[in-house]
Amino acid sequence: MFMWIIKRDLLLAMRRQSDVLTTLFFFIIVVSLFPLSVGPEMNMLRTMAPGVVWVAALLASMLSLGRMFANDYVDGTLEQMLLSPQSLSLLVLGKAFAHWLVTGVPLVLMAPVLGIQYDLPADALFVLTAALLLGTPVLSLIGAIGAALTLGLRGGGVLVSLLVLPLYIPVLIFGAGAVEANMAGMDFDAHLSLIGAFLLASIVLAPWAAAASLRVSLE
């Protein structure tokens, strides 16, 4: 069931590749806007880089949340999934994982390139990528709750940002903090461990909460 839902969602995403690319290019454009707005001073850009990349990743991941359930909701597939005897939490976990593969992984792969734009040193690039790799699945998992709650609502897209962005704050703090600690010559293990802890906690709790939200939204 878990593998099946991932395969299905990936196939659907591959059939509509422009959606994936839109999210990725949104990420690239947002990151590229900052040097244009604050000036190309390299020292400042270097200190800003982790924060800018993380905020852009947060926004990009959030903007694509609408797609997680919306299409299945419109064509009735979601209702069939709710009626199936399989565990709904597992299904949500699969959908969140597929969402991460489609939106999170491209961001992670693109981040080092954008880091070079900001003149980050090599090991900071590595830490940035590692932090994003651990952190972006948390965004997809927490986002699943928001996406499930706002299913089929007026102005759901803006509403989901109000619900989800405050909950993203810990990931943002430690994600950007890891890179900053590395650039300041400090240990970044603790930051990564904490993001890992968020990931484990959200794997356990978020699918359950999102499944409950789906039941509320579809009842």
Partner: protein, 248 residues
Amino acid sequence: MAINWFKYSSPASFYSLAGKMIPVFVFVSVVLLVAGLYVGFFVAPTDFQQGEAYRIIFIHVPAAWMSMFLYVVMAFWAGIGLAFNTRLSSMLATAIAPTGAMFTFIALWTGALWGKPMWGTWWVWDARLTSELILFFLYIGFMSLQAAIDDPRRADKAGAIIALVGVINIPIIYFSVQWWNTLHQGASVSINQAPAMATTMLTGMLIMVLASWMYSIAVILKRTRVIILERESHTAWVAELQKKGAIL
């Protein structure tokens, strides 16, 4: 003598109970408010470091406490409503949210007014200020989610889930922000060590806290009554009330 507590979980009987309780709480709250403000402004001595400006504490601290406490109470009732499917609990949660958001806003506002003469700045990215701001965002998220859903039962349950997710996240957010703050110590002002307070200051503050409690209860009961009327407008007992002219 066994009291049937469940009697008042029916909106109809709660409506009349709340109607009787509101004047009591309003009265107590006004008395405490006057007493607290009197102690705060006339009895409590001037602070030798902060001068008269410290007196904003009598509004700031109760507001900050209420803002955090009300979120937990709101999540509690929303959770009860979700678990036991009791309509009244969810209505209560919905009624608490605006009051909580108001206290959060007051705490931020008075904090800024206090910060200007004390630290020379309206805002610092201190751990407490930042988490209070995030708490405000959580309240706004809860209220706008409920406002966006037309079906009241779905709004109750969706709100309950987001409130519970928020209440799990509040400690995580608080400690993240605190850690973030210690990493960026440079620009911030340390307000961690509270100076010893004169007894009258403390008394004034505690009276104001009690006044805020009473005020919150009164307002929340009133708002719950309005929500009950709105949702039960199709029932016979509301129609009867209307006929008697008890409600407009």
